[in-house]
């Protein structure tokens, strides 16, 4: 058992001695800083923390953290993490992945990790492009994305990461933005949740997909285009002038004006993070008239995979003596007393 008593640390204690090698201006820097700022607030120990990544720009992340780290192979970080956590459930496991790594080549593993509910945090850096391979469109790229592999525009529709996660049975789904001040708060909530915590982070790729999220991340657009959700609070945005209400006929969310701060009169919903149906509506709101849902969208804890496995192993072992000699001597056996003569 590892020592899990809370410790005090500074963000600096979580920085490794490795030179960070992302492109200047990459959103990954902001996410790295946000994590390093978050870790001291979690009271966890660097030696009990493991960052596991696949392949892609984001997956260099573990090298920059002064923790244990495993930079694995493309798409397989969730599978490696499952083995790590089943072998030592005391470890605090963070998976770093991207839209290509986690939803294309590794989509199957992401699906199964979420449905099993392994206790870990999955941070999916979504930049809607393949950066490390020089700019091909990705499974989250919008239809019509022009890239080296789609010079006339992509023709296939994108996957919605949070809708995928909810569909896979995730018990914690959140969204953040690389440079947003709320990001550490999202990380803290993800860490506090026992089970698989799925966090999609809109991350700007300054080289191959610059400003793809600008329509809702630009300072002057942010208030009107972002709704930051908080459990028990009304779903308000645009300085409280607008809110989200239920369009019962369409079974979807609609934007309503709030007059004089009376959100109740406007029918604005209070965010209940345990409501899976509303969570589905929040993550699939069409862009344009609707804001982008951010913060903790859904959270409803359930028993974790590793605890269920360990409990079953313990139950199955109850009262049994692990006697290897007895084990190999089991079944229908017979004794040869002395060498019988051959005919």
């Amino acid at each position: 058992m590892n020592d899990m008593t809370p410790v005090t640390s500074k963000p600096k204690d979580w920085e490794s001695d490795q030179e960070v090698r992302w492109c200047p201006g990459c959103g990954d820097y902001a996410i790295l800083k946000a994590i390093q700022r978050t870790m001291p607030d979690l009271g966890v120990r660097p030696e009990s923390t493991v960052f596991i990544s696949g392949i892609g720009c984001s997956s260099r992340f573990p090298y920059y953290m002064e923790t244990y780290g495993f930079h694995t192979i493309h798409g397989r970080a969730p599978a490696v993490a499952t083995g790590v956590k089943l072998a030592n459930p005391d470890l605090d496991v963070w998976i770093i992945t991207g839209d290509g790594d986690g939803l294309s080549i590794g989509g199957n593993h992401t699906l199964h990790l979420l449905r099993r509910n392994l206790d870990c945090q999955i941070l999916l850096f979504n930049n809607e492009i393949y950066g490390l391979t020089k700019g091909q469109y990705s499974p989250t790229s919008r239809t019509g994305t022009r890239s080296p592999s789609t010079p006339f525009g992509s023709v296939d529709g994108p996957v919605n990461p949070c809708a995928f996660a909810l569909g896979a049975g995730a018990r914690f789904v959140a969204r953040g933005i690389d440079v947003h001040k709320n990001l550490p708060g999202v990380f803290k909530a993800a860490h506090a949740h026992r089970g698989a915590s799925f966090v999609e982070i809109y991350q700007n790729c300054i080289v191959y997909n610059d400003e793809v999220f600008a329509p809702f991340t630009e300072k002057k657009e942010a208030a009107a285009r972002q709704v930051w959700l908080e459990h028990g609070q009304p779903m308000l945005f645009d300085g409280g002038l607008k809110g989200l209400a239920l369009d019962a006929k369409a079974l979807a969310l609609k934007v309503v004006d709030v007059a004089g701060g009376d959100w109740k009169a406007a029918g604005v919903l209070v965010h209940d993070e345990t409501n899976r149906s509303i969570a589905n509506m929040l993550v699939t709101m069409p862009s344009g008239a609707h804001p982008v849902a951010l913060g903790v969208i859904y959270q409803s804890p359930a028993p974790t995979f590793e605890s269920a496995v360990i409990e079953q192993n313990a139950r199955a072992s109850e009262g049994k003596k692990p006697d290897l000699q007895a084990l190999i001597s089991k079944g229908q056996t017979w004794m040869v007393e002395k060498e019988p003569h051959a005919i």
Partner: protein, 632 residues
């Protein structure tokens, strides 16, 4: 298997078929319970003190259309009073439960052998399904004249026997296999008692089924004993009595390869002093290992059925990284999927055991048939210079020690190890002298826990005298580090693409695996001596037929020896000199010559192939003929 290592006398060798061994093949529709019949007959045979070998041969389809030739399932057993190393070349007795089973298997039967057929199943409809022309019934048209034929209406006899138990027609007919087993037990003077106990346990919840099956068993036995049989048939159906085989004193049990590998992995993890994590994905014929291990939780075994083959190995790598012994298992197609992850284990230098139960390939190939065609894949099948130790099991019993050896090498050298077995070894059963675990030397692992001296950095890629790097569990204070699949700097493990560093790290990985040759036993000679005119070199499940063929040839005065390789990579240090001492080398393999190519490459010797890729094991006679050709 080889419970007696003596050579045959010339008299014994020339008496072929060996009078002291009998080969029986049970064949029927895949729904007829032939594997069950064979398995129980195996058990009673082992209990009678006979040495034995079995060969289950079943279709890939779970329930192929009833009565068709491709739905035929067979179980062959060779048992006798000398050491038995193969499932036998040609059956002496064929039990055919329907026309299709007769059609598929009759040609393999020894001339003069005995056919026992259920004439109740030889209806016009079933004959047509088996592909016999209209109006043709092999039981009555004389076409089986080369053999002795005994046909009874086993279906009707079974129905009569189980009548008192009030079963429906379908359920009553399901007891046919027990009737047949009863007859076989009488023919070979075997006890019914263990089968009765087994039936009572199996049908504990429905005693009427247990009683009906026991009644069928007894009826078959009684039929053999009391049936009024004509003079012709009497020649065939006399009671065979096969004397017990000479065997070393001790406790014996029957074991299949899948069982012994599972037990060997548990034993290996205990000798290493670490708990085992097994990540698997269902695939024929490897799934049985996952099934066995999932019942052994009290031995510190965690099993995980992953979402795919890649997740199975990746989770095992994660578990090894976290301080357990990671194990994964599959068959050729699944092993191909695991290739990239094996490279990761090689690059990150983590212990890992990969079991490959080989089957016929390429692609989906022959899922339920045996082949040895994944040797190249095991030795060479990864991107980059990716050296990995490879071990091959010779038999179900040998697989136990091979699994332990794989665990030893993996943990002592911080490397993935591939253990090759095949469908034949995985499914076949043989008597196994239960080893004394106290006789095995432990190889405890030591996790690095002490932090580096003040002012010094921890070097996760520093190497010990064997070239192995330290194993550090995450959670250990003072030893924080990062690893990954990218080339890493010597010592520190930090990312480093510098040309001299990649050269140095590639060399270090190769030297570590090559160096294992100094830590494995030198190559021995299974039979014969260095310098003979011919050596037959084999690996894996061809041990039995090669050994028998060489024994027979030597008994006839031919100057031939047998070498069997357990360590495929690295090869034993003395092997090159040993091979060069022989006049000629032949390498029988159930592939198109893969070990042959490796031997030529490594030692520049003139190794000649003997290939068989029919999905069936070698026959002794095939290898004997090759020996004669090579020496003529």
């Amino acid at each position: 298997m080889a419970t007696a290592a003596r050579e045959l006398t010339p008299h014994e060798a020339s008496a072929h078929p060996a009078p002291e061994s009998i080969v029986v093949r049970f064949a029927g529709d895949s729904g007829d319970g032939m594997q069950l019949t064979g398995g129980q007959f195996t058990l009673s045979t082992a209990l009678a003190g006979n040495d034995l070998a079995t060969f289950p041969d079943f279709p890939a389809e779970i329930r192929a259309p009833q009565g068709t030739t491709f739905g035929v399932s067979a179980f062959q057993i060779n048992f006798g009073s000398t050491a038995i190393e193969t499932a036998g070349d040609q059956p002496d007795v064929l039990v055919a439960m329907n026309p299709a089973a007769l059609k598929v298997n009759a040609e393999a039967l020894k001339p003069g052998g005995l056919i026992i057929a259920d004439e109740g199943e030889f209806t016009a409809r079933n004959l047509a399904k088996a592909g016999y022309p209209e109006g043709v019934n092999p039981l009555t048209d004389g076409s089986l004249g080369r053999w002795q034929l005994m046909s009874f209406n086993i279906s009707q006899l079974t129905m009569d026997a189980v009548k008192p138990f009030g079963l429906g027609n379908k359920e009553a007919l399901r007891c046919k296999n027990m009737w047949t087993l009863g007859l076989a037990l009488w023919m070979f003077d075997r006890s019914r008692e263990p089968i009765v106990h087994w039936l009572q346990a199996k049908f504990a919840k429905s005693p009427e089924l247990a009683e009906a099956n026991i009644a069928a068993l007894n009826a078959g036995h009684a039929f053999g004993e009391t049936a009024e049989i004509g003079a012709d048939a009497a020649r065939g159906l006399h009671q065979h009595h096969v004397a017990p085989a000479p065997a070393e004193p001790g406790l014996y049990r029957t074991v299949t390869g899948a069982e012994s590998i599972s037990l060997g992995l548990v034993a290996g993890s205990k000798l290493a002093g670490v708990d085992m994590f097994f990540g698997g994905y269902p695939i024929t014929p490897a799934s049985a290992i996952l099934h066995h291990l999932s019942r052994l939780k009290e031995f510190g075994v965690t099993t995980f059925q992953a979402e795919d083959e890649i997740a199975a190995i990746a989770s095992a790598i994660g578990a090894s990284y976290a301080g357990k012994l990671g194990v994964t298992s599959s068959s050729g197609p699944g092993i191909a999927l695991k290739g990239e992850a094996m490279g990761l284990a090689i690059m990150t230098e983590l212990p890992l055991v990969i079991v490959n139960s080989q089957r016929g390939g390429p692609s989906t190939g022959l899922p339920t048939k045996t082949e040895q065609s994944d040797l190249y894949q095991a030795v060479y099948g990864r991107n980059g210079d990716a050296p990995m130790p490879v071990i091959a099991a010779a038999s179900p019993a040998d697989a136990f020690d091979c699994a332990i050896e794989a665990c030893r090498i993996a943990t002592q050298f911080m490397t993935p190890v591939m253990l090759l077995t095949d469908g034949y070894i995985a499914n076949a059963a043989e008597p196994w002298k239960v080893p004394d675990m106290a006789a095995y030397q432990a190889f405890p692992v030591s996790f690095r826990t002490d932090p580096p001296a003040e002012g010094e950095a921890f070097l996760p890629y520093a190497r010990d005298a064997k070239g192995a790097r330290p194993w550090v569990k995450p959670g250990t204070p003072g030893l924080l580090h990062r690893i990954g699949g990218i080339e890493k700097k010597e010592g520190s493990g930090n990312i480093d693409y510098a040309p001299p560093n990649h050269q140095a790290m590639t060399d270090a990985r190769k030297a570590k695996v090559d160096g294992i040759a100094a830590h494995i036993p030198p190559q021995s000679i299974a039979l014969g001596e260095a310098g003979s005119r011919l050596v037959v070199v084999g690996w894996g499940s061809t041990f039995g037929p090669i050994h028998q063929a060489v024994r027979r040839a030597r008994a006839r005065g031919l100057d031939v020896s047998h070498i069997h390789l357990r360590h495929i990579w690295p090869l034993p240090a003395n092997l090159g000199d040993l091979l060069r001492s022989f006049g000629a080398i032949i390498v029988p393999e159930m592939n198109t010559g893969q070990l042959k190519t490796v031997l030529r490459d490594q030692f520049l010797v003139d190794a000649r192939p003997l290939s068989k890729v029919s999905g069936q094991p070698f026959r002794i006679a095939e290898i004997e003929a090759a020996i004669e050709r090579a020496l003529s």
